[in-house]
Amino acid sequence: MMRAFLTPRFAGMLALALVIAVLPAVLQNNFQFDIAIRVAFNAIVVIGLNLLIGYTGQISLGHAGFLGLGGYFSAITVTTYGWPPAVAMVVAAVIVGALAFVIARPILRLKGHYLAMATLGLGIIVSIVLNQESWLTGGPDGMSVAPFSIGGYELTTQKQWYWVAGGLLLLATWLSLNLIDSPVGRALRAVHGSEVAAEVVGVDTTRFKVLVFVVSAVFASVVGSLSAHYVMFLSPVYAGFFHSVELVIMVVLGGMASTFGAIIGAAILTSLPQLLTVLEDYEHMIFGLIMMLVMIFLPKGIVPSLQGLLRRGTK
């Protein structure tokens, strides 16, 4: 009976819940809360992106585009047109999901470098539109965003945001673990492992690639909306190429095909630059060095590599 509960997925969820619950006692100031909230938001996006990249083996170099679309949709409808933020967030997710669905079919026919190029182009198009349509978006200067409120209750303090972000991270983790540990998840992993093998046992590979692309885009859109309200400011940089690359690095660093790896990757890449600011001029150099060392010594990413080491140790 005990064994049934102590599955890796349950133990992992429990550990994550504990960390989220205990962390506020450790965090000392708003600056540290801010980092924790950003880690949680990034982690949710990276969990979604990991379903696409890590599990299904399809690359996206334009995912910040979906963050930007979700964020700007919320920002514009709420700030300019007075929509309720929760409604805006849901509508944004539906629209971004639909958009991802429409572009997924032609794009996901491509493989490897070509898919990377196509998604890169997608991100750049979003970025250009957000920069150029300044009557709507404020252009390169960005726009300020109204705070998030629901039923007259406004989310303002760091603590409130912390619990929202932490709760959603837990939810996203649970959904991701569920999905992977299901026939759909096996189909996704099989697409990564051998597309032709998946096809001949009946997996409609296109359907599953489109599905996971839409899911990861919706994850990004929701975080984009919330993040815009949290920061109360949005600029096209948020949807830009460098942000997309950063998200991919989080996936690779934490570990491909590992939901908890996605969280670790997001945590390290989000907090490390803040912690390294004490090094001043050497910050970026040390940061790059750490990344290189991780990839050399833990080539599968942090979590899967450490799991491998542990397993070898116990055998």
């Binding site: 569920n178 099989a190 046992v201």
Partner: protein, 253 residues
């Protein structure tokens, strides 16, 4: 009623006739072998029948329905399953997970129930896990159940492909050189597995170079050479056929 019928099938690769105006039928409930020298077009034929390639001309009928140009996954849902000569194993998964992918068509693969892991998803997976464990035992892989596929030896992976194909519960099973790379004992074990599969009512089509195996288990043999049918018949008939002897041993006359 024939299970599989191929009519005037041709496939060209830039002027090379890999399969050239080939016709044959396969009746249900038998073991068929397709043999021929290297480059005779055996694997190309498999790829055409299972929808991996699209034929240049000609027709494929499965259970008397035309299926030319259908995608592999559509053919799989009609009851066709296959293995690959050059392994197609998902190296990112465990052995058992690989076999369980084979249950895809028999499990609920809708998105939302999976996302929330509804009880019937868990139940379906549990039943599939049990069935696939049995299948792995049947092909002699019970010890590898929880291994990562990428740490398994070649011979075991060959059998893993067969277990995965069987997990789909096909009507027609196409095996592309299942004995290649296996030692003699393993090959004889494989004979038994294939016979057992056929006894359970699955029609087996085999591409194989191991003549001992072919002659031992086949009810019917089709001999290909340069993409054309060279001969056809029972093992005894094929063995005596002068064209076959010439193709395999060289024309001594």
């Amino acid at each position: 009623m024939s299970l599989l019928e191929v009519r005037n099938l041709s496939k060209e690769f830039g002027g090379v006739h890999a399969i050239d105006d080939l016709s044959f039928t396969i009746n249900p409930g038998t073991i068929h072998s397709i043999i021929g020298p290297n480059g005779a077009g055996k694997t190309t034929l498999f790829n055409l029948v299972t929808g991996v390639y699209t034929p240049t001309s000609g027709e494929v009928l499965f259970q008397d329905e035309p299926v030319t140009g259908k995608k592999p996954y559509q053919l799989a849902s009609r009851g066709m399953s296959r293995t690959f000569q050059n392994l197609q194993i998902c190296m990112n998964m465990t052995a058992l997970d690989n076999v369980m992918v084979g249950r895809h068509l028999h499990l609920n693969t809708r998105f939302l129930p999976s996302l929330f892991r509804l009880p019937f998803i868990v139940k379906g997976d549990k039943a599939a896990r049990e069935m696939c464990t049995e299948l792995m035992a049947m092909v002699g892989l019970e010890h590898y159940r929880d291994w990562d596929a990428d740490s398994m030896p070649y011979g075991a992976l060959k059998r893993l492909e067969i277990a995965r194909a069987l997990a789909a519960e096909p009507k027609l099973l196409l095996l592309d050189e299942p004995a290649a790379g296996l030692n003699d004992t393993e090959s004889r074990e494989l004979d038994e597995v294939i016979k057992k599969v056929a006894r359970n009512g699955v029609t087996v089509v085999l591409v194989e170079h191991d003549m001992k195996m072919v002659m031992e288990i086949s009810d019917h043999i089709l001999v290909l050479d340069y993409g054309r049918k060279l001969a056809e018949g029972t093992p005894a008939e094929v063995r005596k056929n002068p064209d076959v002897i010439a193709a395999y041993l060289g024309n001594v006359a």
